[in-house]
Symmetry: D2
Subunit: 366 residues, 4 copies
């Protein structure tokens, strides 16, 4: 029967020096996805950090005692103020609620490790945080130091950052779709920019609630946080829009994964489709995980789910000004865990795509 040591030894054979990386928070959807990506990453030796407040409380979330079913053993260590040194960690990734991240990250940095936080704790200014998260930020000095971890925009800053704030899932989809157009001032801001975003249920978290009950979600579809989502300021910060120029609505899809966001805007000057695609190609020349849909194709989530890609699809109106941009990501990969690995790769000087192309993602067609 399945023999754990064989698998473990075959992994060691193909490894050179490995970076020791801690993961705090591995039972939520993003954290579990991240644990899997780190396990399969050829240049990383991951350590799952157990913390009473984080992982102990959610033990009952595991539907089955499936430890014996795992194909590979996982390294575990207790989290503590000295865990970084004891475990020789070069980086700690935190997939924890914002208040826990704010408490833990200073300890990580103080011990000399670098940090990537997947929560919303370090993405905004202190003022924005107060307004959208409803309380005062306990470590505003870290907000100034944190780099927003969207490699397609901030690759160089990420390489040398000590603290990376991994972007929200909706902002990743929106910023990747809008940034080239706004950066080059093609957009008629007076007409406003609309982002109509739809997400799978993993985006709502693992905590059981009436809103995530199968019977409530299946054969249903709803809009929520209309014009009031806390992810909005992240988008504005990155693309340089005013709040009054941007309308955002979130929707809940009856499926597990993926965000498809449909953007509506007007160009300042009439353009041809080729020019629009060239703008994107030029803006994302270095970006390994941006793919452009060819004309005539149909954007859809099944082509990105399980991958770290952000797929972008553009449609121009007859007047050459009305533009619809659809972006698709897997909210748990490019929208969370995959992007964290991408950031980690940059911080370690590795190939940006290391461990992210062999994800076993379904690739249709040929």
């Amino acid at each position: 029967m399945h023999n754990y040591s064989q698998a473990a030894s075959s992994r060691k054979l193909r490894a050179g020096r490995k970076f020791r990386v801690g993961l705090l928070g591995y039972t939520g959807y993003s954290g579990a996805e991240l644990a899997g990506l780190l396990e399969r990453h050829p240049a990383v030796a991951p350590v799952l950090l157990d913390h009473r407040e984080v992982d102990g409380s959610v033990a009952n979330f595991q539907p089955v005692p499936c430890g014996e079913l795992r194909s590979r053993p996982l390294s575990h260590a207790r989290w503590s103020a000295t865990a970084v040194a004891e475990n020789n960690l070069e980086a700690v990734l935190t997939a924890t609620p914002p208040e826990i991240s704010i408490a833990m990250i200073p300890q990580v940095l103080a011990q000399g490790a670098r940090a990537i936080d997947l929560s919303g704790a370090f993405r905004l200014s202190a003022d924005q945080y107060r307004r959208w998260y409803g309380n005062e930020h306990a470590h505003p000095e870290l907000l100034r130091q944190a780099v927003y971890g969207l490699p397609e925009l901030y690759r160089e800053q990420i390489r040398t950052a000590c603290l990376v704030a991994n972007p929200g899932c909706y902002p990743t989809a929106a910023i990747c779709a809008l940034w080239p157009l706004l950066q080059h001032d093609w957009v008629d801001r007076a007409a406003g920019v609309v982002c109509d975003a739809k997400s799978g249920v993993t985006g709502a978290g693992k905590n059981p609630s009436p809103k995530t009950h199968f019977v409530q979600v299946s054969e249903n579809f709803s809009a929520y946080a209309i014009l009031r989502h806390r992810h909005v300021p992240e988008v504005l910060n990155s693309v340089g829009l005013e709040e009054s120029e941007f309308a955002f609505t979130a929707h809940l899809l009856p499926m597990q994964r993926g965000i498809l966001a449909t953007h509506y805007l007007r160009l300042k000057r009439a353009a041809k489709m080729g020019e629009v695609l060239d703008l994107y190609r030029s803006a994302y020349g270095e970006a390994r995980f941006i793919r452009l849909y060819p004309e005539g194709s149909q954007p859809q989530l099944s082509l990105v789910n399980g991958t770290n890609f952000c797929d972008i699809h553009c449609t121009l109106g007859q007047d050459g000004k009305r533009l619809v941009v659809v972006s698709c990501i897997d909210n748990l990969v490019k929208g969370a865990a995959g992007q964290a690995v991408q950031n980690m790769n940059l911080m370690f000087g590795l190939d940006e795509a290391e461990g992210l192309l062999e994800t076993g993602a379904k690739e249709q067609g040929s």
Copy 2:
């Protein structure tokens, strides 16, 4: 065991005079829904009209020989040029492809019956039809005579119409959401109006194709017909927008039924939420099937699926000008069969809601 005659006789007992109504095309999703509504309608004696071109070819769509499982017998008759007279029909409803409707409806009208067509055959002008359906309309004289069957806007004209063009599913959702605002000239047209619409799979029809295969649809979500849907001109005709002022995208949801459409627009003058709701209440004073969501609630399809209601939800931005209007319908009921019954009720002088409130729809809460 189940005794068919008992059920049939108990139905007769509570019936007075009944209108004899023919249904041509009862095997597609809309047609089957309509057959069910007509069967349960207390004032109607339905006759299913069998036509080689329509129903014979799709016999293999029925997954099981479940005739013996039906709880009630259905009346059938052969369609022919004299079927109206032979069966004493006062109206014929057609849930057939446009080209079949165009061929059959003149025969229905010539025999003195009134007609309600659920296809797109009679909804547009001859010019629009040529452009969006790709061929010349064979009976343009009927286009001038046809009444667009959206009772909330055209109730009086429907009462006396001989030919009613039942609206498309997307246009029903869009027009109900936008009409009050545009009719009263509240909308800043220069900023444009966006309709981001999402539909369940029944909207794509019963014909098996790679696009409707379970494995393609489930755990997937896609955008299609971006800025190019043939339902657009119906909306423009009814709400009085120019094509350049309106952006429409359709999406396919991994669920069976329902359309949720999210509309984005700017008001000419800043308004308060109460004023917006009052505008809708006033515009839809007579409308039995429009419901307004209270503030703070979350629009969703499960509350309309199985009913003939169109639910409307408004959110106003902080500036009092940005407005998001979400409308929800069941695409097969208010978006097709239910609206056809509503039109039929008006044409027969019945209560507009007859046979449409007892649909067994799931109503949550209390």
Copy 3:
């Protein structure tokens, strides 16, 4: 817009004398289904009974404040020890947890009303209850008096019962499939009888838990309570099998409704298919809600969901002895609320099918 009083008055017009029926527990899936059936029942005036322990605690289960969306007003009253008299109730239906039913039903009976309980509180003997529910039954005297509410087997006793124990959903499917064969002693008991049952998620209840989270249930399928389900003794009691002769496994389907149970057994003597079907037809001669599948058809849940029918499908092996019987029900209708209405109809001397054939259920084919 939707006018509540019109709908209410049109209902009154067609009603004669109505039975006043209380419903305690209307927020769970079975209770909500029952509330809907009672509302649409032509001979019943339902009163929803509010009880702190039952309905107050689950107010937060309602995902939206959709009271304003209802098409009909509902009658409410406070539950109390004098609620029956105050509200002039002839019967009280309880869709409450067993321990609440055991506390309330004696009060209902003491006030002179008849009772139908949808929980497992009154279905077993005192000994069985102790073993399968884990505690002593507080009112064993009521167990002797309670009639098991499966009309297909106990129609006459139900007519005059004061307390009816509405069967469990799995037992309804299993007993309807097995009873004719066992009653006539056709089954080789030594070979054992297998019931492999699969249920939709509403069978697991409305309480949010990791097991009912959308992400856990969708794209998943599991077996549970293997050889240990508390519904087993109900089946044994009704069909007369020993525990050692019966193997039962429950499974959770990634869908909302329906139970399909596949039964495997050996006949004592080789039979022909026609003989088997005749046995069922003869056993269920009076039964309005049993339907037999014709040979060559494929049993499936979509044909019973939304209805009170139990559909039965038989396949005989080449030896004429191996028999597979598939039964299908909607777990919330024939498996709970619909069967309760069927029992109520019998208790009131109404047509057994009153209010149960006009459910708007999807009937495919023709």
Copy 4:
């Protein structure tokens, strides 16, 4: 943006000598899964073989022109009678309909390559084939030479086989569950063995039909091929049961992947749970892809989907004789493509699990 050559070169760097393997039939579900596994296999250089009859006809199955979205280029070659030599292929895998496999495999073998066929063409005796597939086998001599490719039973024969008949998906689940018990003669055959199997929709193939339409499948569940499935003889051949001793029913689940099969049988002598588990452990000592569920756990498909594992769960009745064995596999991996790779690994003298543990499968818990 995504740069194809980088990905390709990084793959080459970590490869040593690679086996050249052809794949005929890569557009069906099993074939596409196999293409993905071969692409990611560290010891294989795959070549997709294009054949008019196989791949050309299904070009329209691809819902989008997503060639540009692929992260890696794929090697293609035309299939012909000399394709093996021209492309230097050591093995050819065929995921084609049985009649195509029967026509192609002799050409593959004649050119000196070894073959693994995923269809049902070479799994039965000539007599069985005639009965269950309805026509005479064109190459009965190959049936005698073909090895049944279930490594857990026939590992040594597979290593040296020229032609491996990859097992059906249902038989894989059934044989893995039953073989240890039958091999050691623990089963009371007179009481019969039941296999109640449930499969996801990919098992029904990619061909669009009314039976695989999303609206037919979702919120539905059905039984089919009751006592008449053509996979039955494969099971009987491997476990040594007579047809009269085995009852098999297939069911269609509203999900994409996975087979869960629930088996019911009686042991000849009463046993303890530990003895049963020991029997399985001993029988599957060498088997890398068999996992046993611990007691008290709940078998489910989400734990095997995306992996090559067959998970087995046993429950013993109170009498120590009644045994329920649940087995779970991913029908496209262990039930098709993954098992083919497992067989290929054995034929090439590689580690049996090479390329099959890094599949990116979701592993829950820790």
